[in-house]
């Protein structure tokens, strides 16, 4: 007889390629069924997925299938090219726009701090400023998917992006957006967001990302994301001063 646990695990494995940790699943099922009975499995699976996307995958996914993990020596730069069949679920620890200079990213952050946005030559007052601190999420929602609104283009990072990702076992690797992937941008991709990599190329230790070798599941780890956003400007500034010759002004 199949338990709800095994049904959920099977569904998440086949539809999302997520190997859920039995321990995590047990505690999830016991906590929810205790509250709600007769909830259909499909709805319960949705809830589980939602929780996983908000969790740290080192807790929520299991690690006994090596093909769902990054090779331990993945960062080895002496390997010119290797294949990563996967599917490997990972979570994002850092994102950076390497198509834009650090300084212009700082300037953009400062404009937002002043409540301004730029539309062509026009400086416009950005809406929804002065509300809660740090929360840019509402603005994104308002801008909706894909409409090239004026403020959106300013807040959109151009890319390509360089990510640091981590698998369920805690192995980290650098991933580069070789071809534009919808949903990867500094404003849209939260820290802790999950993606599943399959059939990707790893060159000199970097995973090369393209739409056909990854699925973006989304989500975020709230505490990490918050800290990352709070500290972003300071990190950019620190990197600028670290640059060779960066301390000479002018």
């Amino acid at each position: 007889m199949t338990t709800p646990q095994s049904q959920i695990a099977a569904q998440l494995h086949t539809t999302k390629a997520l190997p859920v940790s039995p321990t995590w699943l047990n505690s999830f099922v016991s906590s929810t069924t205790a509250l709600q009975r007769n909830v259909p499995i499909s709805a319960l699976t949705q809830t589980a997925l939602f929780r996983i996307l908000a969790s740290d995958i080192r807790d929520s996914l299991h690690t006994n299938n090596p093909s769902a993990l990054l090779p331990a020596d993945i960062v080895d730069p002496s390997v010119q090219e290797r294949r990563l069949p996967g599917p490997v679920p990972v979570q994002v620890l850092d994102i950076e726009d390497i198509g834009t200079s650090l300084w212009s990213q700082v300037e953009a952050i400062e404009r937002v701090e002043r409540g301004e946005a730029i539309r062509g030559r026009e400086i416009v007052r950005a809406v929804n400023v002065g509300g809660g601190g740090g929360g840019g999420e509402e603005d994104e929602e308002a801008e909706g998917g894909g409409n090239p609104g004026p403020a959106a283009s300013e807040n959109e990072s151009h890319g390509p992006h360089r990510l640091i990702v981590q698998d369920a076992a805690g192995t980290r690797a650098v991933a580069v957006e070789l071809k534009r992937v919808q949903g990867i941008s500094v404003a849209k991709l939260a820290i802790g967001a999950k993606l599943v990599i399959r059939n990707a190329t790893v060159a000199r230790g970097m995973i090369l990302l393209a739409p056909d070798c990854m699925t973006l599941l989304g989500g975020k780890i709230e505490s990490m994301d918050h800290a990352w956003k709070e500290g972003r400007k300071a990190r950019l500034l620190a990197r600028i001063t670290e640059m060779p010759g960066g301390d000479q002004s002018g």
């Binding site: 010119q80 200079s101 062509g120 002065g130 070789l178 970097m206 600028i240 640059m243 960066g246 002004s249």
Partner: protein, 623 residues
């Protein structure tokens, strides 16, 4: 015979109009008390309603009246500056204009009607109401009409004289609202700043620390750019360059990503190109292309292009253009319109340029079949056509500056009436490894308007060899290059005008004045970068200019909606309200009250946090 009084905005216009209406036969009389204003009398037939009339044509010298505070508020220490938001104000004839006002009253007494010939813009409409007021004081029953004209060319003036209209009180009200707001807000902030800041530094001893609601955002733009330049940090970037030698030509392919700021990533990308060995041609695009002739000329464009190509500042350009207009050589130079009315006979205007040594032949060629109807822009102020030459003038009759501006206006006009420049562009795109590169070529086939519009550049590039779609080749060379980001340049005057225009600071008529004002007040200085033909004039804020902007930003720091007076937002709202008055959707009193309430709030805030301004002054202007 009916007696008519005509009043223009300036003596030169009065004379030009008198000349055309009278056919040259007029009598000139001096008026007592003013050397510049003359009365010209002659007969003229105004047509249907008015018929043959006896006319006196005179003028004012700009605004007749001034808005001022009641006597007890005039001295700087008479009241707390904040009281100026409510202090009673009244309109009075300026002391140096009383003779002119008296002349209008006297002339009105003997006249049945007053025809107003002020310039057709918002200010002109307001000056018209000032003239009307004086005329009614002389003759309460005088009829009032307005002539609508945009240049002083004969046929145009005669036509305006025979199709009179009403004064537009809405526009006049908008100006009145602006005058009151500028007076109250300007005086209150200027007194506050001057009284509070002056004692802090000996450098401020002989100055007035003025505030103007346009002046400050204008200064804000200059300071903003200055700080961006000053704070800039250069960074290294890397890119990939691909070159192919074919048919004796070195074809350089540019990377679609231009450059990236991560060396390791670029290195890997290059390695993957080299691993792939062969590049494949994915796009061969050969298509006709054109460079569009310019749009009809507006004031903002004249100022921007003028300061870029003629090396004159915007205020000088406007003065010169004004003189050319007054003399009847070009149309009214204050206009937002970038589309020609269908009714205007452009070919006739082109024909007038035939006698010119430099572009006469070009004008002739236009009428021999090269003529094209100008492109139409999206702006129409419903008052004036785009700036265009009205007649040809011999260069010997013009000063050096006038010659430059006139030439620009003519060349621009002829360019508008010409065919676009035509060419053929070739674009080759290749895929190499995971990367995309492209090369572009341009062949100019017909220069057309470029022949007369010498300010635009469009030249053929190196020609590309043949490529076939889908063909593969091994590039001769593929390598990494590096470079450094560079700081933006200091703001130039054309850029500043563009920023003011985009942000609604001032009108096309007043922008040049605001820029001149912040120079006069020593808030910004002009610096020349480079030399010779490439010299560029840059605007750099003084220590005082920086101190004021930083001080104000600190005063307003942390307030919702960032209302700092160095930002364009407040002023922009005010300009929008002025336009609403003109459109009739808001009334003057309501707008004045609302704007005053808003600024009063910021005034109170500034007063409360004046220490932030004082700190900034102390920081930048050590005693």
């Amino acid at each position: 015979m009916t007696r008519i009084l005509c009043v223009a905005e300036k003596p030169a216009i009065a004379k030009a109009v008198a000349q055309h209406l009278s056919g040259g036969a007029f009598q000139t009389n001096n008026i007592t008390g003013n050397r510049y204003v003359k009365n010209y009398s002659f007969d003229f037939n105004f047509g249907s309603t008015w018929g043959h009339c006896n006319v006196t044509m005179t003028s004012v010298l700009g605004h007749l009246t001034e808005l001022e505070f009641a006597r007890e508020y005039k001295s700087w220490l008479s009241c707390p500056p904040g009281a100026l938001f409510e202090a009673p104000v009244h309109e009075a004839v300026s002391s140096d204009k009383t003779a002119i006002a008296r002349n209008i009253q006297q002339q009105a007494r003997q006249s049945q009607a007053l025809f107003i010939w002020t310039d057709c813009d918002r200010e002109g409409e307001h000056i018209g109401t000032e003239i009307r007021k004086q005329a009614k004081e002389g003759n309460a029953r005088i009829l009032v009409k307005r002539a609508r004209f945009s240049n002083t060319e004969r046929a145009h003036v005669l036509n305006a004289a025979r199709s009179l209209m009403e004064l537009d009180d809405l526009q006049a009200n908008a100006v009145a609202a602006r005058i009151e707001l500028d007076l109250r807000i300007g005086a209150a902030f200027t007194r506050l700043l001057t009284l509070q800041l002056k004692p802090l530094s000996s450098a401020l001893e002989d100055t007035i620390v003025s505030y103007g609601s346009c002046q400050f955002p204008t200064l804000g733009f200059v300071v903003d750019r200055y700080l961006r330049v000053k704070n800039f940090k250069p960074e290294t970037f890397w890119g990939i360059k691909v070159m192919l030698q074919r048919e004796g030509i070195k074809v350089n392919f540019l990377w679609k990503r231009v450059h990236l700021f991560d060396r390791a990533v670029v290195t890997i990308m290059l390695e993957r190109c080299l691993l792939a060995k062969l590049a494949r041609v994915t796009k061969v695009n050969q298509k006709p292309t054109s460079k569009w002739r310019p749009l009809p000329l507006t004031t903002v464009d004249l100022q921007m292009m003028g300061s870029r190509f003629l090396r004159m500042d915007s205020q000088t350009i406007m003065k010169v253009a004004e003189a050319l207009y007054t003399k009847g050589f070009i149309s009214y130079p204050r206009t937002e319109t970038d589309q020609f009315d269908k009714a205007i006979d452009l070919k006739k205007l082109v024909e007038k340029q035939f006698p010119d040594q430099n572009w006469g032949q070009y004008a002739r060629d236009l009428l021999d079949g090269g003529f094209r109807t100008p492109r139409a822009g999206r702006h129409n102020d419903q008052a004036h056509p785009p700036i265009h030459p009205v007649c040809w003038v011999s260069p010997s009759a013009l000063s050096a500056d006038e010659k430059k501006v006139y030439e620009f206006v003519v060349r621009r006009f002829l360019a508008c009436c010409s065919e676009d420049a035509k060419g053929q562009s070739t674009e080759i795109e290749i895929e190499y490894g995971n990367e995309t590169f492209h090369a572009k070529g341009l062949l100019v086939l017909e220069r057309n308007y470029l022949d007369v519009y010498v300010y635009d550049k469009w030249e053929s590039s190196q020609q590309l060899p043949n490529f076939q779609l889908g063909e593969q080749f091994e590039p001769t060379e593929a390598k990494i290059f590096d470079g450094k980001t560079t700081a933006p340049n200091y703001l130039t005057e054309p850029e500043l005008i563009a920023l003011m225009d985009a942000n609604g600071i001032g009108t096309d008529a007043t922008m040049a004045e605001h820029i001149a004002k912040i120079k006069d007040r020593h808030y910004v200085a002009v610096n020349t970068r480079g030399g010779g033909r490439n010299a560029v004039k840059e605007l750099i804020p003084t220590q005082l200019g920086i101190a004021l902007v930083e001080g104000y930003d600190n005063v307003f720091a942390g307030m919702p909606n960032n209302p700092s007076l160095s930002k364009p937002f407040l002023r922009k709202e005010m300009e929008t309200r002025m336009r609403e008055i003109c459109a009739g959707s808001r009334v003057r009193q309501e707008v004045v009250q609302e704007s005053l309430d808003m600024y009063r709030e910021y005034f109170v805030h500034t007063n409360r946090r004046i220490s932030a301004l004082k700190d900034a002054i102390r920081k930048y202007l050590p005693n």
